[in-house]
C-alpha cells in the first residue's frame, strides 16, 4: 500500500467550497478517478483520506495537503496525479503526489498573503506598522470552550509589508497545525479595532505549509 501525500490547489471559483463540502467533493473526485484508494475496514467502510489543514472559506491556496492510501503498490505518482486532475472541479488541481515523509504533527505554521484595499495606503501603512510594533495584539478568538482573549503578537512573523497605490499587501506566518491555529483574519480584525484607516481585506492566499524550522512540510 502506498501512503501518499498530494499537494493541491484551490483557486478561482473553488475558493467558495467550504471545508465540509470539500470533503464530499474529494470523495466524489476519488470515485470518478477510479483510483484504487484504500477503504477503512470498520463496520462502515469508507475511503480513507485526510486534509492536513482546513482552509478558510474564500481563501485561495496552491499548497493544500491531502493524504490517502493507494492499494496498488506499482502505481506511479504521476498516474495518480493525472487521473485525479482529469476529474477535478474547476479551480482545483493536484500539483504533485509524493510518498508521505513527515507526520501531520510536524506542521507548525502557515504563510499567508493578503491585501488591504484602501483609498489612502500611506496612512494605512502607518497604522499597520504601529500595530505590528505594539507590545501585544490582543484578539477575541472563538474556541470550542467559548470566547477567549489571545495575544497573537508573539507567534506572528511578518515576512513582508508593502504599499501599493491602492493597498497595503502583507505576507505573514502564523501558527498552524494540530496545536494552535491562527487565521490572518484575526490580524485584520485587530487592525480594524485599532481604529485604522478604513480598508477592505481581500485576496487571502495560503502560500505555504511549514514545519517549526521553516522548511516546507513534506
Amino acid at each position: 500500500m502506498l501512503r501518499v501525500r498530494a499537494t493541491f490547489k484551490k483557486t478561482g471559483r473553488a475558493k467558495y467550497i467550504s471545508h465540509l463540502d470539500l470533503n464530499r467533493c474529494m470523495l466524489r473526485t476519488f470515485r470518478r478517478s477510479g483510483l484504487p484508494i484504500w477503504y477503512t475496514e470498520g463496520f462502515n467502510p469508507h475511503p480513507y483520506y485526510a486534509f492536513a489543514l482546513a482552509l478558510s472559506l474564500g481563501f485561495e491556496s496552491e499548497c493544500e495537503i491531502l493524504d490517502f492510501n493507494i492499494t496498488d503498490d506499482n502505481m506511479s505518482m504521476e498516474e495518480i496525479r493525472d487521473r485525479l486532475n482529469a476529474v477535478m472541479p474547476e479551480g482545483m488541481g493536484i500539483i504533485k503526489v509524493e510518498i508521505q515523509v513527515q507526520k501531520i504533527t510536524a506542521i507548525a505554521k502557515a504563510e499567508y498573503s493578503f491585501s488591504l484595499m484602501t483609498d489612502s495606503p500611506e496612512k494605512l501603512m502607518e497604522d499597520v506598522k504601529k500595530l505590528i510594533g505594539s507590545e501585544e495584539i490582543l484578539i477575541e478568538k472563538k474556541t470550542k470552550k467559548g470566547i477567549k482573549t489571545v495575544d497573537i503578537k508573539p507567534d506572528m512573523e511578518i515576512i513582508s509589508c508593502e504599499q501599493t497605490d491602492c493597498s497595503v499587501d502583507i505576507v505573514m506566518r502564523l501558527p498552524a497545525g494540530t496545536q494552535t491555529n491562527y487565521n490572518p483574519t484575526l490580524f485584520v480584525e485587530a487592525l480594524k479595532n485599532s481604529g485604522a484607516q478604513p480598508f477592505e481585506a481581500e485576496k487571502f492566499v495560503r502560500r505555504a505549509i511549514l514545519c517549526a524550522d521553516d522548511t516546507i512540510f513534506k
Binding site: 471559483r13 467558495y16 467550497i17 472541479p89
Partner: protein, 614 residues
C-alpha cells in the same frame, strides 16, 4: 465592473456561497460566440431544492447536446443574497456563464408546486424583466416559458408567460428552439413566432385564449384567436426505453435535498388513486428495460462519483421486471460500495424477497402511504390497499428487524367522516398490537409509529377535480379529533398547516382571474411560500380581497360535471368523461382495478393509438 466581480465582492457575506458561482463538475460551459440560442432553465426555489430536480438534469443535458444551443441553470437566491443583489444592481444571472438571464432567448421555469408561483414573479423582477408578458415588447427574445406538472392548469399564471409546454419536454423543447432560431434568422417578431409555435403539439400560448364568465363566476366560454388550436394536447415520449437520458449530472459542492444519482425506471402509473394528479397526467404507463436502467446507473455513478443511487418513478415496485432489475442493480452497487435507495414502494406488492433486497441496501425505516384510515375511505380514493395487506407487510417488516413504521394519511378526503379519522389511530394501534404479538420481533426497543397527516388538495386532471376542499374549521376539528384519539406515546402525529393547503387548492384550481392576485401577493412580499418561515397567509388573504376574489369559489365549491373548467381546453390524454365516471364511482365507495388487471377506459390508449401493455 464585470458582473462576476460584482458577485464575488459580496459572496463571502452570504450563506453557502458555492450556490451562486457555478463551476461544479458536470456543468456545461460553451463559447457564447458560437451559440445561437440561449436557454435559462430556472427553478423557482433555492439551489438546494432546484438542483435535486430530475427534469432539469434531463433537459439541461439534452439541450446542451446541441452544439449551437446552450442551456444554463438559474435558481431563486436566498433572502440574504437577494438583498445584496438588489442593493448592488446584480441582475439574476445563470450559473454557467454568469451572464444576466435577461440576455437569454428563452427563460424557462419548471412549475413543480403551486407554492412556488410567487417566486417566479420575484425571479423575473430580479432579472430586470417586466413580470407581465404584455409589457415585454414584441422583439423576438426573452421568451418566458414554463413546463412541469402544474402547467396542466397554468391559468393563474397565464398573464406572466408567453408559452406553456404541456407534457414531456424531451422532444418539444428542441422543436420550439429550432423554430425560434429559424424565425430569429428571418427577423420575425415575437407575435409571429408565437403564432407559429402554437401549432407545435404541446405548445400552449395563453394570449391567444380568453375566457367569458357567467354572472355566477363560472366560465361561459373560451374564445380562441390568432388561429390557435381549440384544444392543446400534451406531449409524450412514445419510445420511453430509448428516450434520451443524461450520462452526467451537475455535481453540486453544497449538499442538496436529493444528493444522489437518480435513474428513472418508469413513467406513468397503473394505479389510478383518485386524488393523485401525477397518476393521471403522466399516463400512459411506460417502463425502461432492466438493461437500460443498469446501463444508465453505471454510467451516471462513474461520471458523477456519487456513491448513492435512487430509482425514480411513481411506483417502482410496479415495474414488470422489479425482481431481476434489483438483483442486477444490487450486484453492481454492492461491488462498487454504492447505496441503492428505493422510494415509492407500494404496500400491496411488497414481497419477502423484495424486503430482503432492500435490507441489503438500507437500514432506515419503512414508509407506507395508507392515505385513508378506514377501508371504506381507501375504497373511495381507490387506494387499493387492504388492512390485511398493511398488516402482512408490517409482519414481514417486523420479522425482518424493522421497528419503526411511518404512515402517510390525508385528511379532508371526499366523503370523510369522524369515523375515518378515528380509524387512523385505530389502524396505528392495531399495528402496535401486531408488533407485540410477533415472537421474533426486534428485541430491545419498542415499536414506533409515525403518522403524518396532510390536508387533501383536490387537483385538476383527477377524478377529484370537482371536489371542494374542507374548510379550515373542518380540518382543525379533524386534527383535534385525531390527536384526542391517539392515547399512546408509541404513536407520533404530525400534520400540515391547513392555510398552506388552502392556498394550494386556490392556485391549483384557479383561473386566469387569479393572475392579478398573485401579482398583488408578490408585491406585498410573498415568496418562498412553501417555506414555513416565509409563509404569510394574511398577505395572501389581503391580496385576494383587494382583487375582489372569493377564495371559497375555488377552494370550497363543488365544480359541476357540466361546468367548463379552466383547464378543459388542455388535453392530458385522459378524458373528462372518465374523471366524471370515476368521481361517481368514488362516491359509491367502489374501487377501480389497476390498469394491468383491467383497462378502465381512461382514453389514453385511444389517443396514443396503441395498447398500454403489449
Amino acid at each position: 465592473m464585470e458582473l462576476k466581480d460584482k458577485i464575488e465582492k459580496h459572496l463571502l457575506e452570504v450563506q453557502k456561497p458555492s450556490r451562486y458561482i457555478g463551476g461544479e463538475v458536470g456543468s456545461v460551459i460553451k463559447d457564447k460566440s458560437k451559440v445561437d440560442v440561449r436557454f435559462a432553465f430556472c427553478f423557482p426555489d433555492t439551489y438546494d431544492i432546484g438542483m435535486s430536480h430530475l427534469g432539469m438534469k434531463i433537459l439541461y443535458s439534452l439541450t446542451n447536446e446541441r452544439e449551437n444551443y446552450w442551456c444554463e441553470r438559474c435558481f431563486a437566491p436566498s433572502e440574504d443574497f437577494e438583498a445584496i443583489m438588489r442593493e448592488n444592481d446584480i441582475p439574476l444571472y445563470a450559473l454557467e456563464s454568469l451572464d444576466p438571464i435577461k440576455d437569454f432567448d428563452f427563460i424557462g421555469f419548471t412549475l413543480q408546486y403551486e407554492l412556488s408561483y410567487a417566486n417566479i414573479l420575484n425571479m423575473l423582477d430580479l432579472a430586470g424583466l417586466p413580470v407581465f408578458a404584455a409589457d415585454r415588447g414584441d422583439e423576438l427574445t426573452n421568451i418566458v416559458v414554463a413546463g412541469g406538472p402544474c402547467v396542466c392548469n397554468p391559468e393563474p399564471l397565464a398573464d406572466f408567460f408567453d408559452i406553456f409546454i404541456l407534457g414531456e419536454g424531451e422532444e418539444v423543447n428542441l422543436e420550439l428552439m429550432d423554430l425560434y432560431w429559424e424565425m430569429k434568422q428571418q427577423g420575425a417578431t415575437k407575435t409571429e413566432f408565437l403564432r407559429k409555435a402554437c401549432h407545435i403539439e404541446g405548445i400552449y400560448v395563453p394570449r391567444f385564449y380568453s375566457f367569458v364568465y357567467k354572472e355566477d363566476g363560472t366560465i361561459e366560454r373560451l374564445v380562441v384567436s390568432d388561429g390557435a388550436p381549440e384544444v392543446v394536447r400534451k406531449r409524450i415520449i412514445k419510445d420511453f426505453d430509448s428516450v434520451y437520458y443524461p450520462d452526467n449530472f451537475v455535481v453540486p459542492f453544497t449538499e442538496i435535498v436529493h444528493d444522489r444519482v437518480s435513474v428513472e425506471v418508469l413513467r406513468g402509473c397503473i394505479r389510478g388513486c383518485r386524488f393523485c394528479q401525477a397518476g393521471f397526467i403522466y399516463r400512459p404507463f411506460r417502463e425502461k428495460h432492466t438493461d437500460t436502467i443498469c446501463k444508465e446507473t453505471k454510467c451516471l455513478c462513474e461520471n458523477t462519483g456519487y456513491d448513492e443511487v435512487s430509482l425514480a418513478s411513481l411506483s417502482t415496485s410496479d415495474h414488470s421486471e422489479i425482481d431481476p432489475m434489483l438483483t442486477q442493480l444490487i450486484e453492481y452497487t454492492a461491488a462498487e460500495r454504492i447505496n441503492l435507495s428505493l422510494p415509492s414502494l407500494r404496500v400491496d406488492n411488497f414481497s419477502e424477497s423484495l424486503l430482503e433486497k432492500i435490507k441489503k441496501v438500507r437500514k432506515s425505516g419503512l414508509t407506507f402511504a395508507a392515505e385513508g384510515g378506514t377501508q371504506r375511505l381507501r375504497d373511495v380514493i381507490n387506494k387499493n390497499v387492504s388492512e390485511e395487506e398493511i398488516m402482512n407487510t408490517c409482519t414481514i417488516a417486523f420479522k425482518g428487524g424493522y421497528s419503526a413504521v411511518k404512515l402517510y394519511f390525508m385528511m379532508g378526503l371526499p366523503t370523510e367522516t369522524d369515523e375515518d379519522i378515528v380509524g387512523i389511530a385505530d389502524l396505528a394501534n392495531r399495528i402496535i398490537d401486531l408488533f407485540y404479538s410477533i415472537e421474533d420481533r426486534p428485541k430491545g426497543r419498542g415499536v414506533q409509529i409515525s403518522i403524518s397527516c396532510a390536508t387533501f388538495v383536490p387537483k385538476p386532471f383527477t377524478p377529484f377535480q370537482f371536489e371542494p376542499q374542507d374548510t379550515r374549521e373542518m380540518i382543525e376539528h379533524k386534527q383535534k379529533l385525531l390527536l384526542d384519539s391517539v392515547k399512546t406515546k408509541k404513536i407520533k402525529v404530525s400534520y400540515h398547516d391547513p392555510n398552506v393547503s388552502q392556498l394550494e387548492v386556490i392556485l391549483a384550481k384557479g383561473d386566469r382571474r387569479l393572475c392579478k392576485a398573485i401579482y398583488a401577493a408578490w408585491k406585498k412580499g410573498c415568496k418562498f411560500d412553501s417555506w414555513e418561515e416565509y409563509f404569510h397567509f394574511d398577505k395572501w388573504v389581503e391580496a385576494f380581497e383587494e382583487c375582489g376574489i372569493d377564495t371559497s369559489f375555488y377552494a370550497n365549491r363543488r365544480f359541476e360535471y357540466d361546468e367548463i373548467l379552466p383547464w378543459d381546453h388542455l388535453d392530458y390524454l385522459v378524458s373528462k368523461e372518465f374523471f366524471i365516471r370515476e368521481n361517481k364511482t368514488a362516491h359509491n365507495a367502489v374501487t377501480t382495478p389497476n390498469c394491468r388487471l383491467r383497462c378502465s377506459g381512461c382514453g389514453v390508449n385511444k389517443k396514443v393509438g396503441r395498447d398500454c401493455f403489449c
